[in-house]
């Protein structure tokens, strides 16, 4: 790695530190924020997330090589970490660090987009099922029962294995569409109690239609469980993507995702463990940070459920 890359890496750490510092400063100003900070791992979690998001956005600066570039296919196969390639090279003589940096884009991107799909669907269905009581709500929740009874990995495997060469966008959509059932239950429970409150009755008395009541009055007040399940949802998706990739069904090569990097390195685990070790560590770190931040957010946003 050149001095410039090291400088960029130091810059990324600095940016992440600044973000964590700023988040800490802002959080300390409010009661909810202080509840968030009381969680000992929440601030380090913010730092780790900020660091990896910086890696993803500034990937071209931080990666010395193109992620698909084969440096020297004859001499540099599965080369151990060195000054040149700080995390070593994989079997196709690609730089593991560069792939890890670009992989952050794909892994975090898949996690975020699939989570957005899942949370939107979950919040929408949950709100409608909770607010509209009659048969609509009942039918929706029976559908959710069925969805929860289908093993998610199994459904995804079927879709991906049966429709070979699924575009990445469709895969992400599918991951999202199989992940909203639990969220919808949470949101429905929240909406069921909110719809009986005075402010909802007031909104209705003022002539607001059901759509307006749901989106302007009910859902914003049900934000806490939605935000928490969003934070935890990204991590879940990343683990799922890694699993699918491990079966050879995830992100197609040569695109680097952390899951597909583990898959590529697995046959050489014994001789060149760095090829699957580092991407796995990256997944564990990011998911851990997401869980920590999610726990902190739960404490911050939902003071009723005080977890220690």
């Amino acid at each position: 790695m050149s001095a410039l890359t090291w400088l960029a890496l130091a810059g990324a750490v600095a940016v992440a530190l600044l973000v964590a510092e700023e988040a800490h400063r802002r959080a300390a100003a409010s009661a909810a924020g202080r509840r968030f900070l009381r969680h000992p791992t929440a601030t380090p979690g913010v730092f780790i997330l900020a660091f990896f998001v910086t890696l993803a956005t500034a990937a071209p600066l931080l990666a010395p090589y193109d992620p698909a570039f084969q440096i020297d296919i004859v001499h540099l196969q599965n080369h151990a970490p060195s000054a040149q390639n700080i995390l070593g090279t994989d079997v196709y003589s690609r730089d593991v660090w560069s792939r890890l940096v670009y992989g952050a884009r794909i892994s975090l991107g898949i996690g975020t987009i699939a989570m957005l799909v899942a949370v939107t669907a979950g919040a929408g269905v949950g709100a409608v099922a909770g607010y509209v009581r009659r048969w609509v709500g009942a039918v929706l929740m029976r559908g959710v029962d069925v969805g929860l009874a289908m093993p998610r990995m199994f459904v995804l495997l079927m879709a991906v294995a049966l429709w070979e060469h699924l575009p990445l966008a469709v895969l992400v959509l599918l991951i999202g569409l199989t992940g909203w059932f639990a969220t919808s239950r949470l949101v429905r429970a929240e909406v069921l109690s909110l719809r009986e409150r005075e402010f909802v009755a007031a909104a209705r008395a003022a002539g607001a239609g059901p759509t307006r009541v749901i989106f302007r009055h009910v859902l914003p007040n049900a934000a806490a469980p939605i935000i928490v399940s969003a934070a935890l949802g990204i991590g879940n998706v990343m683990l799922l993507e890694a699993g699918l990739s491990y079966l050879g069904l995830g992100v197609p090569s040569p695109l680097p995702s952390w899951g597909s990097m583990i898959y590529d390195g697995e046959p050489f685990m014994a001789g060149a463990p760095w090829t699957s070790l580092f991407p796995g560590c990256a997944i564990a770190l990011v998911v851990m940070a997401l869980n920590a931040v999610g726990d902190g957010l739960r404490d911050a946003l939902d003071p009723r459920k005080e977890t220690a």
Partner: protein, 325 residues
């Protein structure tokens, strides 16, 4: 209670039926056929004959009705990739999965319970914080990746455990039964540990929270005020009540006993239900895939039902309301 149970059972059957239906149509409507596209091409003539023999040339609706009819008689159909009845294939795979999942759940619950209680007692002290973060780490890594690491460390670097498989195929038949069982346990250790550790991390978190909630109750203060030893207060008065939410965990873990873990079974070459269903999906072995979906969804629904019944039995405060499902 009886009326409630009957209603829940009916709902359960409806859910399983829905899952089977969705799976059936999903896999039949998917492109490709069991004749194989890439490897081992069959001649079109043979393929046509095979399709006719298994009835795959009939309209989908007819096939579906026939499948349901057979299913209602307990007939799961015939696997054409394995050349044997699906029920036989399941009967071979289920004991393997049961062994692995059972061992994993044992580690999960025993270790998770112990850690959770310990962490609750030492809440916010050093031991609790360290264990909490280690648990979070285990909870955050891909399970199959942990399996790979354990394999690397304990089977490759230190040759303490085998690299995979369920028993030694050559040695085992020559050994006595006892030695053979020991060999099985030796093969079981790493995969069970992989699943068990990740599970225990989650269980401990859950148990810690439940325990802390109970420890703040009045009756715990009363027990302390009576002058009982702290040990007795924690292990008898508090733990018994903190075990109630455990029923939920049990209900959630229940399906795992028969569906197994697809990825970990793949890592350790363990021929259980997980691998069976994945292979079946790749081979488009329709009857095996639908049967796996049937087993999986059936176990999920049964697990929920079991948890609800156990709650009603264990906690007299809970009045079963059929409204709440």
């Amino acid at each position: 209670m009886t009326a409630w149970l009957v209603r829940r059972l009916a709902a359960a059957i409806a859910i399983v039926l829905a899952v089977v239906t969705i799976t059936f149509f999903l896999i039949h409507l998917a492109p490709g056929s069991p004749c194989g596209e890439s490897e081992r091409q069959l001649s079109p003539e043979v393929c046509r004959r095979l399709r006719a023999q298994f009835g795959y040339d009939r309209p989908l609706a007819v096939q579906y009705v026939k499948y349901l009819w057979a299913l209602s008689h307990g007939d799961l159909g015939e696997s054409f990739a394995l050349h044997r009845p699906v029920a036989d294939a399941l009967a071979d795979a289920i004991p393997n999965t049961l062994t692995l999942a059972g061992a994993a759940l044992l580690i999960d619950f025993v270790l998770g319970l112990a850690l959770g209680v310990y962490q609750a007692v030492r809440a916010r002290r050093f031991g609790d914080v360290v264990l909490g973060n280690v648990g979070l780490l285990f909870n955050s890594m891909p399970t199959f990746w942990l399996g790979l690491i354990l394999l690397l460390v304990f089977s490759y670097w230190r040759r303490w455990f085998p690299l995979g498989g369920m028993s030694d195929p050559v040695l085992c038949p020559t050994l006595s039964t006892l030695r053979c069982v020991a060999d099985r346990a030796w093969h079981l250790t790493l995969p069970a540990l992989t699943l068990g550790l990740v599970g225990a991390a989650g269980t401990a978190r859950y148990q810690r929270a439940a325990m802390l909630e109970v420890m703040a109750q009045d009756y715990v203060r009363t027990a302390r005020a009576k002058g009982l030893r702290e040990r007795r207060v924690v292990l008898v008065h508090a733990l018994r009540n903190a075990l109630l939410p455990f029923i939920t965990l049990f209900g959630l873990a229940f399906p795992f006993l028969l569906t197994g873990a697809v990825l970990v079974e793949t890592v350790f070459a363990w021929s259980g239900m997980g691998r069976l269903s994945v292979t079946a999906i790749f081979q488009r072995d329709y009857p095996v895939v639908t049967a796996s979906a049937l087993v999986a969804s059936g176990m999920v629904v049964l697990g929920n039902l079991l948890a609800d019944v156990l709650y009603a039995v264990a906690d007299p405060r809970i009045r079963v309301r059929s409204e709440v499902t």
